[in-house]
Symmetry: C2
């Protein structure tokens, strides 16, 4: 399945990832990979965005970036978050956006070699969540990428 | 507001935290503080629970434990997740539960002193997410607790 452009990735998300639908997470751009979220579906008791929702948008932005890379490289693989470190810097009082920073070419080459050799690999990504002009959260996530048929 | 028993905490959650409602997160026990989640509302494209949903249940379990403690201590305060480190150990292929480990008495005494002195404090909590007999995720979270009227 080709998951390269915004529309195909967004359709895949809506069809296959139930919470993305429930929280109103939408891919708005693929370069850089950016996911937008409304405030209303993600409100907590303080009238700001729930930490779990900020995290969900960030985790999904990293996942979508790597899923798109696999598609571009014709690698049939599963992408899953393995470890993460998150910092919540300020409350989000309006709709917010998670943007995954593109990994460097050397990191992607290394992932490609690991996939070719072992059928699985790991890569670290940084994702930033902003609300209006404010940086509200940062995520550093280690994702596992496994070729189909290889269990982790 | 008294938020001590399961029913009052659960009612508060449903009324005030929109994603908890959308993801079907339910407080099932207060000692230890345990949040249950169905699989269907949290499914990803691999037929397992979405990482952001596991994280949401875990983050909320820690928040509910501290909110309940504040209520028991008659402290009018806001509880917010500040930093976290999460590990995803295995896929959740069925409904799952997040259980917050009760902090030690010394940590709670320290938090109480910080709140009395500065109107704000910080405490680390560990939360485990299990699916059937399997540990699927661990969260270590630093929560900020601020007396009402004190901005952080």
């Amino acid at each position: 399945m080709q998951l390269l452009d915004r529309d195909s990735l967004q359709a895949y998300l809506m069809a296959n990832i139930a919470p993305a639908h429930a929280l109103g997470l939408t891919i708005v751009e693929v370069e850089p990979l950016t996911i937008a979220a409304p405030l209303a579906a993600n409100l907590n008791d303080k009238g700001t965005a729930f930490a779990g929702s900020l995290y969900s948008a960030a985790a999904l932005a990293g996942w979508a970036l790597l899923t798109r890379w696999c598609s571009a490289e014709s690698i049939d693989a599963e992408v899953a978050l393995h470890e993460s470190s998150a910092r919540f810097l300020a409350p989000a009082r309006a709709p917010f956006r998670a943007t995954a920073r593109p990994p460097g070419p050397a990191d992607l080459e290394k992932l490609k070699r690991m996939l070719a050799r072992a059928g699985r690999g790991r890569i670290e990504l940084s994702v930033e969540v902003s609300c209006e002009a404010l940086l509200v959260m940062t995520l550093s996530g280690a994702y596992a990428v496994s070729s189909s048929g290889v269990s982790r």
